[in-house]
Symmetry: C2
Subunit: 150 residues, 2 copies
Amino acid sequence: MTTLPVPDSELLRLDHQVCFQLHAASRAFGSVYRDALKDLGLTYPQYLAMLVLWEHGAQPVKAIGEQLRLDSGTLSPLLKRLEGAGLVRRERSTEDERSVTVHLTAAGEDLRERALPVPRRMLAATGLTVEELRMLRGLLGRVTAALDEV
Amino acid sequence: MTTLPVPDSELLRLDHQVCFQLHAASRAFGSVYRDALKDLGLTYPQYLAMLVLWEHGAQPVKAIGEQLRLDSGTLSPLLKRLEGAGLVRRERSTEDERSVTVHLTAAGEDLRERALPVPRRMLAATGLTVEELRMLRGLLGRVTAALDEV
DNA sequence: TGCAACTTGGTTGTACACAACTCAATAACC
DNA sequence: GGTTATTGAGTTGTGTACAACCAAGTTGCA
């Protein structure tokens, strides 16, 4: 399979355009989420952590970190803020004293319903079709996996 | 044009998967850039600011902010750090005293050559073809534009 | 001319994100 | 059993992001 030759200059430009667009899109999402989540008193990363807990129930900090691709340096203060807001409870595990299990409180469970309209609102805001969203998800997943190899 | 019905649950899941992948991909890029730019002593946002200056020459803070989609709250300290590193010089404009023009220093100009290999390295790290990169750029551009409308 | 509205850049406060480190607990090995 | 290595959270320091606000300069209009 032969491809048209791509000028070097365009190739280099393409790279930083993609990186930049990624950066910009990520922040644009953050901005819209900030608005959508304002009433819930959550930031976007906090919402992601709550999603994990709503979906899979109580689990150790480590497991949350793996799913969100975040380390303890980010998660520890974030979870502390969620605890301060009364949404989660942290309990050191009895079987492995190194591990801390994060539980939802009743308030944390209750918040789930109020968060239900958020995804649909975001979905509409992207202006993409379902096909395009699937493609985007696929491309992003591959990029992340490839970058993680480096 | 009729489409297959998409279950509600998948739709909602798709949204937060896309948002999450975007977030994750953006951070994955940041991580690889951090490595690629370490020798230059630049962070990724600082590199973006330098790109703007390398490409279009000296310009006011406002213009840089528009291109990078960043406000003064982020740019002011960032540019101060670049100035501290001796890469740029900030000069208040004489014709409009509100405006501050950012110039490259000789060291800032020189850094350009040392930064040349970076894009190719990043391009390779993504593991995508040129077609895929173009498509990704296009989708991301549309998403950002749509989100900015909100 | 004089004043209100707007623009530009800066500061402050809060919240990620991550590297580098510490500390305690557990696992692995001889 | 005792020593070493590894693991899980947390802390500290630096650097984005961004909202909210401020000060000074400019513009526009009555």
